[in-house]
């Protein structure tokens, strides 16, 4: 099965890089998107000194962690929002006639390397913010910096899968689904403490966006979260990712069942 996926992935990568000019432009456009997102936070801090209890460097840390996670998930799973198009074109039926799981085929069907442009911007910001914001380093903090983006990417990937599964029921419900994926991404790049407590709880315990960047950042800064949440939550990104993945897998399976008409 690994060979099969390698062949699918290899084919995708070759197809993209074979049109060099267009690939370069795409990559540049994604660097642009990353820069624009950065401009937004820059403009905010041009006018204020502290946002949600974090200063400029500290907020940048949240921004960077969130963007790395999201851009990595977007790279692998972002194209799942094309599912309605696949449904209409019958591409999905063709995939069902191949001896591989559907989700695996979908993920490898359109990996978009151009999205690494946004990852690159986020990495630069991280490299700038980490040494300035974090005072005393411990091995544990180093581990946290490495694990958080991976767990965050898994959280967003799971959100993409959930959003895609929703498409099996909603014909053309792409925008509803985007509210959770791109909405979650937007929320996660700012300190959740700026949100109303209800919204904050929603983006922590329903859509676990706070786990992606804000809560781990607080651990890195030796701060405790507002409203008396335990500081240990900053370590729970992998748990959030696992929980989210379980939900996503179950939901996806239900979606397929609905599509094939077995239930729902």
């Amino acid at each position: 099965m690994a060979d099969a996926y390698r062949a699918l992935l290899g084919a995708r990568l070759r197809a993209q890089t074979s049109y060099r000019a267009s690939f370069a432009l795409d990559l540049l456009a994604n660097v642009g998107i990353g820069l624009l997102e950065f401009c937004e936070i820059y403009v905010i801090f041009h006018n204020i000194d502290v946002l949600g209890g974090l200063d400029w460097q500290e907020a940048l840390l949240v921004f960077a962690l969130s963007n790395i996670a999201f851009s990595l998930a977007d790279l692998g799973f972002g194209h799942l929002d094309e599912l309605p198009r696949y449904l209409r074109a019958g591409t999905l039926d063709a995939m069902l006639l191949r001896p591989l799981p559907l989700l695996g085929q979908l993920v490898t069907s359109d990996i978009s390397l151009r999205r690494l442009g946004r990852t690159a911007i986020a990495l630069v910001v991280l490299a700038y913010a980490l040494p300035t914001a974090v005072a005393d380093w411990t091995p544990a903090k180093l581990l946290l910096v490495l694990v958080t983006p991976i767990a965050g990417a898994a959280v967003f990937a799971a959100l993409f899968v959930c959003a895609a599964a929703l498409q099996f029921w909603l014909v053309d419900g792409g925008e509803v689904a985007n509210a959770f994926t791109y909405g979650g991404s937007y929320v996660s790049q700012y300190p959740s403490s700026v949100l109303h407590v209800l919204l904050r709880s929603f983006f922590t315990f329903v859509v676990p966006a706070s786990f992606v960047a804000y809560l781990p950042t607080l651990v890195l800064l030796d701060r405790s979260p507002p409203t008396g949440l335990p500081a240990a939550l900053g370590w729970c990104a992998p748990l959030a990712a696992m929980a989210m993945s379980v939900v996503a897998a179950a939901w996806w399976r239900q979606g397929i069942r609905h599509y094939t008409g077995a239930g729902g």
Binding site: A4, R14, A94, L96, R98, G261
Partner: protein, 317 residues
């Protein structure tokens, strides 16, 4: 083991339509309504019916894309939905309306990927054989999106056969092709069946496909099986007539007195005459030869489109 066993197959769809500002009506449509048939390995079966008769729905249930509402399906001895991935190794499918190839990659690349998907080790000889017999060599390096429809369809057929499936399902394989491309494809499919014993199941609106490729016809109408048997049998059931066209050496008065025939037309002042009959062509020919000298003749087989249309009309109302 049979290629396909279908028993009392039913598939319903729920259609919702708005009947007021907020009210919506639920309507259950039976796309497939209690179909049973069996296809032996190595058979070639044509599955025909009007648009919306339930052809594609049946095919989707046979291949594991759709779950039956009731009844059972076994394809290559497997339950199609729960053993979908296993079944995929034994089935090849060509859908005339949608592509299974990678549109932005060279055609040859698609074969390579498919071989990897099916975990084939010695796939090069098989692909080389398909490339040669379907004449794909000239455009193997061309991206699929730049291929003509005829080239692409040949590519699709090759792609469906890379893993040498026991059952080949063709959904409108010749749609949109010109006469020559259609014929080439049919010749290839017949050879493939002879050489590999591949079971063919095809849906089509082109009756020549059925005549050339299938020993057996299933006619589905409004979700029910309206006919199961040979193509000639179908024509006979419906009382379809064949037509003998004779060109005579000398003009002759209308041949209206040949037993068992019906004179359709007299052309060229009696030089060409068309006779419809349901009995033996030899008897009719002998009777004509008794009366005059024949220069040339052609035999027109019944128009199956008409036969099927009649069948629908009979079964429908």
């Amino acid at each position: 083991m049979s290629a396909v066993v279908v028993t009392d197959l039913v598939r319903e769809f729920v259609v919702r339509r708005s009947t007021g500002r907020l009210r919506r009506d639920k309507q259950v449509i039976r796309a497939v309504d209690g179909i049973s048939f069996e296809i032996a390995l190595g058979d070639a079966v044509g599955y025909i019916g009007a648009n919306g008769a339930g052809k594609s729905t049946t095919i989707k249930m046979l291949t594991g894309i759709l779950v039956p509402t009731a009844g059972t399906v076994q394809t290559l001895g497997l339950d199609p939905v729960s053993r979908r991935r296993e079944l995929a190794r034994g089935i090849g499918a060509v859908f005339g309306q949608r592509s299974q190839l990678w549109w932005d990659l060279p055609l040859g690349e698609s074969f390579r990927i498919l071989a990897a998907l099916h975990e084939l080790r010695e796939w090069q000889p098989r692909v080389a054989q398909l490339v040669e017999r379907l004449e794909l060599g000239d455009f193997l390096r061309t991206p699929v999106r730049q291929l003509s429809l005829g080239e692409r369809m040949r590519g699709e057929v090759a792609a469906a056969l890379v893993h040498s499936p026991a059952l080949l399902v063709l959904d409108e394989p010749t749609i949109g092709l010109d006469v020559l491309s259609k014929e080439k494809l049919r010749v290839f499919l017949r050879e493939e069946r002879t050489n590999h014993g591949t079971t063919l199941l095809l849906t089509t609106h082109d009756m020549t496909d059925i005549e050339r490729l299938c020993d057996r016809v299933l006619v589905v109408d409004k979700g029910r099986l309206a006919y199961d048997g040979t193509l000639t049998g179908l024509a006979a059931t419906m009382g379809a007539e064949r037509v003998l066209v004779v060109d005579l050496v000398e003009p002759r008065a209308a041949l209206s007195d040949i037993p068992g025939t019906r004179l359709l037309s007299v052309e060229g002042g009696g030089l060409r005459q068309r006779l419809a009959f349901t009995t033996s062509a030899a008897a009719v020919l002998a009777a004509v030869a008794d009366r005059c000298e024949i220069r040339d003749l052609t035999l027109e087989e019944p128009d199956i489109d008409d036969v099927v249309r009649k069948l629908y009309a009979r079964g429908g109302r």
